[in-house]
Symmetry: C2
Subunit: 296 residues, 2 copies
């Protein structure tokens, strides 16, 4: 398959859906929806939505059916970036080559834009309910999975642990926990909710969740590697930042070569977990392999 064409086509599909969920000029306070849209349409790769659609496809479902969930995932992801970039958190000025939300607007607006996106994610799902007549239970399960992945049990907890780890030596296990929560949880939820919306069996959902967990960890390792090896122009943000901040990373803890090797074996495991699935899972296989060659 032509992965590049596939990703481009899916990205367009997701962007059109997001555009319909959060159109220009919406709401009584245009400044906050502008800030929400500024970050939501800042050129994200739409990895989580695409994983979600591919999860639906893998179980033989219609990826279009999962679009509201895909949109909610991207809203949650974007909110987390806006809040993580705040001065009180990671204090980042640049994101995807553009000023971060609080730099482009101001801190208060950025806090509210994040709050607005997080709320819009759940609202978008509830608004879509009429599409899922007779499958309301599945939609509520999706909301539960997203809530756990995004909340104190997942991303919020991971960001807290990450902040607490700053400036002190942490163990390998602590690093794994942080990443499992901070990035892994939502990536895993993306594939899982896709499988749920696609009508996958319990066994299929469990298998795809396993794929998501391996994928999430491999994603983080390759992300760390890119911070060491990538160029700022390709990444759209400053590189070498982890070292500058004395942040624990896999390359720092394991060495470059071992980190690369581990990412490779995780991708192999992720692909292996897709064995019972037919050609519908080809996108998930290709996306996993792509992690090892990505440049941004």
């Amino acid at each position: 398959m032509d992965l590049k064409a596939y990703l481009g086509e899916r990205r367009d599909l997701v962007n059109r859906a997001l555009e319909s969920y959060l159109p220009k000029g919406r709401g009584p306070a245009v400044r906050v929806t502008e800030a929400m849209r500024y970050s939501l349409f800042a050129g994200g790769k739409r990895l989580r939505p695409i994983l979600c659609l591919a999860g639906a496809e893998a179980v033989g479902g219609d990826p279009g059916e999962a679009l509201p969930v895909a949109g909610a995932l991207e809203m949650i992801h974007t909110y987390s970036l806006i809040h993580d970039d705040l001065p009180a958190m990671d204090d980042d000025d640049l994101r995807r080559g553009k000023p971060t939300c609080h730099k482009q607007f101001d801190e208060a607006t950025a806090i509210l834009a994040g709050d607005g996106l997080l709320t819009a994610a759940f609202h978008t799902l509830a608004v879509a309910a009429p599409r899922y007549e007779g499958r309301e239970n599945g939609l509520l399960e999706v909301i539960q999975v997203l809530g756990a992945a995004a909340g104190y049990q997942g991303m919020v907890g991971g960001q807290m642990l990450d902040l607490l780890a700053e400036g002190r030596k942490i163990t390998f296990q602590e690093l794994e926990t942080i990443h499992r929560l901070k990035t892994g949880a939502l990536l895993t939820a993306a594939v899982r909710t896709g499988a749920l919306m696609g009508g996958g069996s319990r066994e299929e959902v469990t298998r795809l969740t396993g794929y998501g967990e391996k994928f999430g960890l491999a994603f983080q390792i390759t992300d760390d590697l890119l911070d060491v090896e990538g160029s700022a122009a390709e990444m759209g943000k400053a590189t070498g930042m982890d070292e500058k901040r004395h942040k624990a990373t896999y390359p720092a803890l394991l060495g470059l070569e071992k980190a690369r090797e581990w990412a490779r074996s995780l991708v192999e495991e992720a692909v292996a977990s897709l064995e019972p699935f037919g050609s519908g899972a080809e996108p998930l296989r290709e996306i996993a392999r792509y992690l090892l060659v990505r440049r941004a």
Copy 2:
């Protein structure tokens, strides 16, 4: 009826439910759940949850059935207080007589605690789904109502407008819009979702929504009056702050006497809208009248 006893009993019911939704030591990062609990159990009056339970009661439903929604309302309310108190927003040090979340913990923790509570609200509702077998549609409608009341269409939009209004003269209509969104939307949603969970007819839900709108506005006016007339000890926060901040208020725009009169007539209208309801709506009537005599 004995309103004081009623409020106390309902507050206990809500507190027990909240305790079960967010128990001590929950999650991988105890610091953030501690901060969430710190603000959630800081002695709030539980007005929104109580309105929700009373809304269910008014349509002849079992208030206990609405408890997860009541809990979600209080989580959303608490998250909004935490974020509104942040230095980048209203920069408040004191809330309900105690240090605000970012003073007690730190800014990053407070941002995350707010994010965690907002997420937990929706998660709590989705987790409760098995209780509502056959009524999943109603639960999804509740999520939609809460999402709209909390999001850019409601509270988030209102807080944005409030910040934009700071330091400049605003019209009476602007002030009304800000309050309708910032406080009114969630108070109205509380009664409305209660009526929905209690199994109210469309007409009943519409009537109770009307009650909520009048109540919300009357609440804001009496809140402004308390800031002028109340004592810091009774309010648990500094009073006279609105004037110090040159914030537009109803007493400032209308004068004390006219503001008081208007609150009175709104309460009358709210009570009048309950006319078709029987004794089940007595708590809603009493709570509305209480606005005119409250001291905190």
